[in-house]
């Protein structure tokens, strides 16, 4: 039986269903499909389609060892998957708090194929069972905190009154981490109260919640359920403030606790009742009124504010004008409810591992919080490590550009030891770097296609990327026509141009490196100063638009250029340091990774690296997100973030928000 089996006797029809499920597996990839491709996994070839949300997935596919933060987030995703669900771990170690993987295999295509076959058998044989175990994601544990409706900055663990205005604090749910949930438990109460059952009543600790039928107010029950008269779901109510969820203007009575409240019909003001209920004339819900301001109920907001100043308003009086007057307006001038929506760390349209918290004003992004869960920590080296181990470590920490960072380490070590690579080795290394650039840019194109719904681009760029990775010069020459054809079609695609033009424009005042800078027209490329590249006939590709379209075109140009450089170099050499013996000294190197210039400084002692300092382009670029996304439409904001081509692994941890 698989660990995420669904409860039920395993018999008859269920066997058939289980066999169908085993064939129809969809994977939710953690941390993301781009990392799977970087490790050479071809999920499409293995017959494993991707699910865009854990809700639609049958298997959680875990790629490589995950840091703790990502495992927590993965446990949230797993908890969201409907049973029967399974975990397939490739090259992963400790999975806690996730349950033990149903199948573990090596992080290779063969491992994927054999693991998948094994998993399909396991599901066909054990998708249902009688003794299923519960799984609770620790990160989803909900606690209730209390906050003031007027002063959201006031948050307390206990109920009580607001120290600023004396209002009663309202309970709200909060959870330990956002995860992928898409739930926004701590959104302001106004946000979704009409379809959430009112939060403050459901979780009010002091009062017992009661349930009533929306159509038959005389039906009152202590338990949720359905109405005995009409079968509708009973809605929770809380004493006398059950009410005005539908009035749209919560101001009058929500907290009118001191005075007796009367209820009236919004359409028939002559109907007045002491009890909540529905209007005898039209059946609408009665809304509560306070006697004294019943008159100006329909006169608009203005009166509330002008008749009495805020100071003069009694503590219970809640004015919409008062609540919203200090809130910033969005660019369109519409006052809307703001939602805090978690995006990532496994969001299908963003680099896996990058967690964002978007504040959405309608579908406009009004704020972005970044919560990167991976990334390298300083210091890179805590105890002295041998040179080759340091290189291996660098390659392992940067899964999206292992060759670049391995080569960077090699160059820095050689610089410190005072040796210099032979001319043909340097040429081979340059070609290896360019091959990685092609693969990296193709991977970015594929992600970009997936995010913008351009499926042809997503699939064909991914297929080419998998072929380019690890290819030798002959194979790359053979792939060149296919790659050029892809780029040609992409450059001509008019809808892509329309989609990207003018999005996320950067000007030359920003701190950008690599392709981002070159798409603004800045000649910023470490390769320009490199003799090997000069000998190969290199000159930087430049574009001037500065927007997402320019970045796309520039990356296409760079793929073309890299193909030419590899052809000129003629050989590809893996980054391996020559024996440096017991060398010591300080060294530095700079290298143009696919995402921009990276700098490494290190100190050697007795042939071992004792300290190292790394500066990566992604660390600088992640700071651009906030300005780029401000006041953008949601889809545009995500295109903007994607156009930066961030690798969360290459972001320094100290810079994370």
């Amino acid at each position: 039986m698989i660990s995420g089996a669904r409860k039920g006797a395993f018999s008859g029809l269920r066997k058939l269903v289980a066999a169908a499920m085993a064939q129809e597996l969809k994977a939710f990839v953690v941390p993301g499909p781009e990392l799977a491709r970087a490790h050479g996994l071809d999920l499409a070839k293995a017959g494993l389609p991707l699910a865009v949300t854990p809700r639609h997935a049958g298997v959680l596919l875990i790629i490589s060892n995950l840091p703790e933060g990502l495992r927590d987030a993965a446990s949230v995703a797993y908890a969201q998957m409907p049973r029967p669900r399974a975990i397939l771990a490739l090259g992963a170690g400790n999975l806690a708090p996730l349950p033990v993987a149903d199948v573990s295999a090596d992080l290779t295509q063969e491992g994927l194929l054999s693991g998948l076959a094994q998993l399909r058998r396991a599901i066909a044989a054990g998708a249902f069972g009688n003794d299923v175990t519960d799984f609770e994601a620790p990160a989803l544990e909900i606690r209730v905190e209390y906050t003031c409706p007027m002063h959201p900055e006031v948050v307390s663990d206990k109920p009580g009154n607001c120290p600023k205005c004396g209002m009663v604090l309202m309970p709200r749910e909060t959870d330990a981490s956002g995860g992928h949930a898409g739930h926004t438990p701590n959104e302001s109460e106004a946000t979704m109260s009409q379809h959430n059952t009112p939060e403050h009543s459901k979780h009010a600790s002091a009062e017992a919640a009661q349930y009533t039928c929306p159509m038959h107010p005389e039906v009152v029950s202590a338990e949720p359920g359905s109405c005995p008269k009409c079968g509708m779901f009973l809605m929770p109510v809380e004493g006398k403030d059950a009410d005005d969820k539908h009035s749209g203007h919560g101001e009058h009575s929500q907290h009118a606790s001191a005075e007796a409240t009367q209820y009236t019909c919004p359409m028939h003001p002559e109907v007045v009742s002491a009890e909540p209920g529905s209007c005898p004339k039209c059946g609408m819900f009665l809304v509560p009124v306070d006697d004294k301001d019943a008159d100006d109920k329909h006169s608009g907001h203005g009166n509330h504010a002008s008749a009495e100043t805020d100071d003069g308003i009694e503590a219970h009086f809640m004015s919409m004008v008062g609540i919203t007057k200090d809130l910033p307006r969005s660019s369109d001038g519409l006052q809307m409810d703001w939602l805090e929506v978690p995006y990532g760390p496994f969001f299908p349209g963003l680099p896996g591992g990058l967690g964002l918290q978007l504040t959405l004003d309608g579908d406009t992004v009004s704020g972005t919080g970044i919560r990167n869960l991976v990334g390298f920590a300083a210091p890179l080296v805590s105890t002295p490590v041998a040179a080759e181990d340091f290189i291996a470590q660098m390659m392992k920490t940067m899964p999206h550009a292992p060759v670049s960072y391995g080569l960077l380490a090699v160059c820095a070590i050689e610089n410190a030891a005072g040796t210099k690579a032979r001319e043909d080795t340097a040429r081979g290394r340059a070609a290896a770097l360019e091959r990685e650039r092609i693969a990296s840019h193709l991977s970015w194109l594929s992600d970009f296609g997936a995010q913008t719904g351009f499926r042809w681009l997503a699939t064909s760029a991914a297929a080419l990327q998998l072929k380019v990775q690890g290819a030798d010069t002959g194979q790359i020459a053979a792939l060149t026509p296919a790659i050029t054809a892809l780029l040609g079609r992409l450059r001509r695609a008019p809808l892509m141009r329309m989609r990207l033009k003018g999005i996320a424009r950067l000007d030359d005042s920003v701190d950008a490196a690599g392709p981002l800078a070159r798409a603004i027209g800045l000649n910023e490329d470490v390769r320009s100063d490199d003799q090997t590249f000069s000998a190969l006939g290199f000159s930087p590709a430049l574009r001037t638009g500065g927007d997402a379209l320019a970045r796309l075109q520039l990356r296409c140009d760079e793929i073309d250029q890299s193909l030419k450089l590899i052809a000129a170099a003629g050989i590809i050499t893996a980054p391996v340091a020559e024996d440096i013996g017991k060398a010591k000294g300080e060294g530095a190197a700079a290298l143009e990774t696919p995402r921009g210039a990276a700098h490494l400084r290190l100190v050697l002692k007795k042939g071992k690296v004792i300290s190292a300092e790394l500066d990566t382009p992604s660390t600088r670029h992640v700071a651009l997100i906030e300005d780029m996304t401000a006041q953008q439409e949601l889809g545009d904001a995500l295109v903007a973030i994607n156009s930066l081509d961030l690798s969360p692994w290459e972001i320094g941890m100290e810079s994370r928000a």
Binding site: R6, R14, L16, V17, A18, A20, M21, Q23, E24, A44, G47, P49, V52, T53, R55, H56, G58, Q80, P82, R83, P84, A127, F128, H180, G182, H183, T184, M192, H195, N196, M232, F233, L339, V341, F347, P348, G349, L360, G362, D363, G449, A450, Q451, T452, G453, F454, R455, W456, L457, T459, A493, L495, M496, M498, R499, E633, L634, G635, D636, L638
Partner: protein, 299 residues
């Protein structure tokens, strides 16, 4: 009898579309795929989102299904093969499909998740873009047929199919139909890259199955409408009328499904701007042209 035949062919059509759609999406042609997928969805838990609006959450998939089935009722597969030949058929189709909007907003809202809710509201914006472009081309079609009866509309094309008589209307109608069926590149309410499935994001198991089946039926009904209004319905030589209807509907469906494969999703603002500034002007021009031709040339 007609009802049984049409529902049967609808089921078969939906099955074929499911094969094509999974082929377009995943690049694998699997004939048993849809049956397996349906079984797998039946076996999976149908999770109830946290604090849902249950009424909306449960009703939405069914409402979407009903909207699609109602629309199918006025599509003729052959002169006698139609569930109900209403005298206001073309209008009824519109009225039935208006519930697609309601169902999607309910689905997005009911699940109590931000992705779904934004997806639902996005579709409301999308509605503003496509709604006029469904109705206005139909107006021109009805002008030529001098009837809103769908069978009458087919018969009016005996001399010349409407695709040649009013090509502008055809193009506008197909694009609007793709918007209505939220097919890529107009899949704004689903937008896997922006909203992780949008209105479908919180649905699982049987409910998701119903939601997807309903969408296929809507796609089929719109392909049927395209064939009826523009491609001469059952008209054609040699083969029996029902075979012509089936072939044309499948071809249109496949074309609509594959188109999104080769283009990125459009921006909502751009879609609205194009629909209103360009689309409606063209639709008005189409009505005018068809009116002039109908007066001058007797075909």
């Amino acid at each position: 009898m007609n009802i049984a035949i049409i529902l049967g062919s609808l089921a078969l059509g939906a099955y074929i579309i499911a094969i094509v759609e999974s082929w377009a999406t995943y690049g694998r042609l699997r004939l048993a795929g849809p049956a397996l997928a349906a079984l797998a969805l039946l076996g999976r838990e149908s999770v109830l989102a946290r604090k849902p609006d249950r009424l909306f959450f449960e009703t939405a998939p069914v409402l979407l299904l009903v909207a699609g089935l109602l629309a199918v009722a006025v599509i003729p597969l052959a002169p006698d093969l139609i569930i109900t030949d209403l005298s206001s058929g073309a209008l009824f189709l519109n009225a039935a499909l208006a519930y697609v909007l309601v169902a999607l907003i309910m689905a997005g809202w009911g699940a109590n998740g931000a992705y779904g809710m934004i997806g639902g509201w996005r579709f409301l914006g999308q509605f503003i873009a496509y709604a006029m472009l469904i109705v206005m081309p139909i107006t021109a079609v009805a002008m030529r047929a001098e009837s809103l009866m769908t069978t009458q509309i087919v018969i009016s094309q005996v001399e010349l199919w409407n695709i040649f008589y009013q090509p502008i209307g055809f193009v506008l109608f197909v694009i609007a139909a793709m918007g209505l069926a939220y097919l890529p590149p107009l899949d704004l309410p689903l937008a896997p890259g922006d909203l992780a499935g949008g209105v479908e994001a919180e649905y699982t198991g049987v409910r998701l199955g119903v939601l997807r089946l309903a969408r296929m039926i809507i796609i089929l009904s719109l392909a049927g409408a395209t064939v009826t209004f523009y491609l001469g319905g059952w008209l054609g030589p040699w083969l029996p009328p029902w075979a012509w209807s089936a072939i044309k509907i499948l071809v249109v469906t496949v074309a609509m499904l594959m188109a999104g494969h080769y283009m990125p999703r459009i921006r909502e603002a751009r879609y609205l701007a194009l629909s209103w500034k360009l689309g409606i002007s063209l639709a008005l021009a189409n009505i005018f042209l068809v009116g002039v031709i109908a007066l001058v040339v007797p075909i």
